[in-house]
């Protein structure tokens, strides 16, 4: 992940509450500059070894309101560059918290996202929303494609909802789509 090129320059703006990275999406035409923030926040400890688990949050920052929109699609034509930029912060995070694990989920996987998206649909989706869960698909596809390389340094667990409120996490199976991923560096991997 650290070898990712074709990405934006990032600035770390961390504090005691969270580790934050800021970058500016300039898009293909370089006209619309969108500030984006990646935030790593502590959620809880893993029950087995008390290692901390952090959440990865990512979204567009609105300077006027001082808030984030994590469901926004700025459609700046730079989705892969933005994605690479997000990924490039993960090794930096693990340098700071080597024994931590990271929970990665997509904010476009919520039921209300699909509902809201259908209200303003630009893709003429009939039954299935094409934008639904796009981020998790992107993350899972990336891990699947690079699995052999990534598993040298990292451990990936994939979580799937059982539909009754529980999430079953198992070792990541390349090609499979998950509702959530837990990433940790191999030295401090999860014991199942």
């Amino acid at each position: 992940m650290s070898s990712l090129n074709h990405r934006y320059d990032i600035t770390e703006v961390s504090d005691q509450v969270s580790t934050n990275f800021l970058f500016y999406s300039e898009g293909n035409n370089g006209r619309v500059v969108v500030p984006k923030i990646i935030q790593f926040t502590y959620v809880r400890d893993y029950y087995y070894n008390d290692n901390p688990i952090f959440n990865l949050g990512f979204g567009d920052f609105d300077i006027d309101t001082g808030s984030i929109n994590d469901e926004s699609m700025s459609d700046n034509g730079d989705v892969y560059k933005v994605f690479n930029t997000v990924l490039s912060t993960i090794p930096i995070f693990f340098e700071k918290y080597p024994n931590a694990a990271l929970l990665v989920r997509g904010s476009d996987g919520r039921a209300e996202f699909e509902h809201n998206c259908k209200q303003n649909c630009t893709r003429n989706c009939i039954d299935l929303c094409l934008k639904f869960n796009r981020r998790m698909k992107l993350y899972c596809n990336y891990v699947s494609r690079k699995y052999d390389l990534l598993m040298c340094d990292y451990q990936f667990l994939g979580g799937v909802s059982d539909g009754k409120g529980w999430f079953d996490f198992t070792v990541f199976d390349p090609g499979k789509l998950y509702d959530g991923l837990i990433v940790s560096i191999k030295m401090f991997k999860f014991v199942l």
Partner: protein
């Protein structure tokens, strides 16, 4: 007939460094994704780690 004058939106050019420090001050100490954090907590509280 006199046409109503509309004032154009004024833009101020600022440097990225200035913008970055403004954003840094705006996000300081804030949890920016409270909804996602809540969902993450829920997910981890209801997580089962299974050995296959």
């Amino acid at each position: 007939m006199k046409q109503k004058e509309t004032k154009p939106t004024e833009y101020v050019k600022v440097s990225k460094a200035w913008l970055t420090s403004l954003i840094a001050s705006q996000i300081k100490g804030k949890i920016l994704f409270p909804k996602k954090m809540e969902e993450a907590k829920k997910m981890l509280d209801h997580a089962r780690f299974i050995k296959k």
